[in-house]
Symmetry: C2
Subunit: 228 residues, 2 copies
Amino acid sequence: MKLTYHGKTKDVYRFPDGNFLLHFKDDMTGADGVFDPGSNEVGLTVEGAGRAGLALTKFFFEKLKEKGIRTHYIDADLEQATMTVKPAEVFGKGLEVICRYRGVGSFLRRYGAYIEEGAPLEGFVEVTLKDDQRGDPPISKDALAMLGLLSKEEYETLKQLTIEIGQVIKEELEKKDLELYDIKFEFGRDKTTGEIILIDEISGGNMRVYQGDQPVEPLALEKIMIKE
Amino acid sequence: MKLTYHGKTKDVYRFPDGNFLLHFKDDMTGADGVFDPGSNEVGLTVEGAGRAGLALTKFFFEKLKEKGIRTHYIDADLEQATMTVKPAEVFGKGLEVICRYRGVGSFLRRYGAYIEEGAPLEGFVEVTLKDDQRGDPPISKDALAMLGLLSKEEYETLKQLTIEIGQVIKEELEKKDLELYDIKFEFGRDKTTGEIILIDEISGGNMRVYQGDQPVEPLALEKIMIKE
């Protein structure tokens, strides 16, 4: 098994059969020890954060599987903090697909002239380029097509999938009286079928969740969703 | 006649009949004395810049009129550096609509991971909010609809009009062996008919034009297009 990629929060190994093993690390994005899912920096290391992220990821990927939504997920080993996934090809150097239910974060920083902080949004989808150096710029359907990253048809598929998956996660959180403000996904093309599938993880590190007016940190989220 | 708005490069007066008079000033956008059409600051004042901008604006608006493309233009007085226009309502606090034929400026700063500087683009349209404080953020068709600035149908009209108008200007420049890299428009709703029309100006201050590999400054552009 070969290490193929050192990520900010995960390492990736390749199995001889073509599948991949993701190892969830205890590093979280943020700045100066404060967690921020929108950040591109490793801001803190928290004992057990990798396992907690994986437990949530496993929980949500299995929910999606029950609903017949295709993802790269095969199985997970919580002891080892690893997940086995199908091979997929990312779009260009990677896209982030964000589904928003409240106007906060970079959305508010951009469009604050037109919405109040925390204004409800009905599953608003937007795409940004994974490009730390250029600050993960937002990119439109037309620009994605023009740069050859995603056809206009693929964009519509991606958008619909995002709304569908976001809704599943939102409903799971609501069962524990939690509110999803926004969530960040990554998609890719299934190496075998070419279909667009959800890849990466679905953990507290990729979403903003509130309990009443209090943000729920990733580790606390795992406790509420899995252990309680 | 009442002064209704002090702009960076224009002052606006209201006629009793509801039309408006735009007075073109000698101030240009840029920084430290260097012209930059993408800038939000007045960077330099050049004697005659207002008249030159108006002469080009009059030239292009009259070309558009010949082609049957509706704009806010009524007439212009070059001596007084003024233009009379129909009343129009801007979208929200104003949008900038950019049509790009070369990957430069903010487009390159955002998408430089996927294109070379100056790469040809086929009349690529994008919209940004006029919001100096937030750095004129780009905004998608979906976000414009969600924020109530522009319906999806209006977005398509705006995009088509932008491509059409950009093409007219590009062709006029080509007649003088000039190449249009990008151009920035402003649109509004005609107060009488509700139709989407081109407003503001069409001058060297709103476009990047090259002669071979040399940028053509706004004043030089007016000389080439009008006086030669």
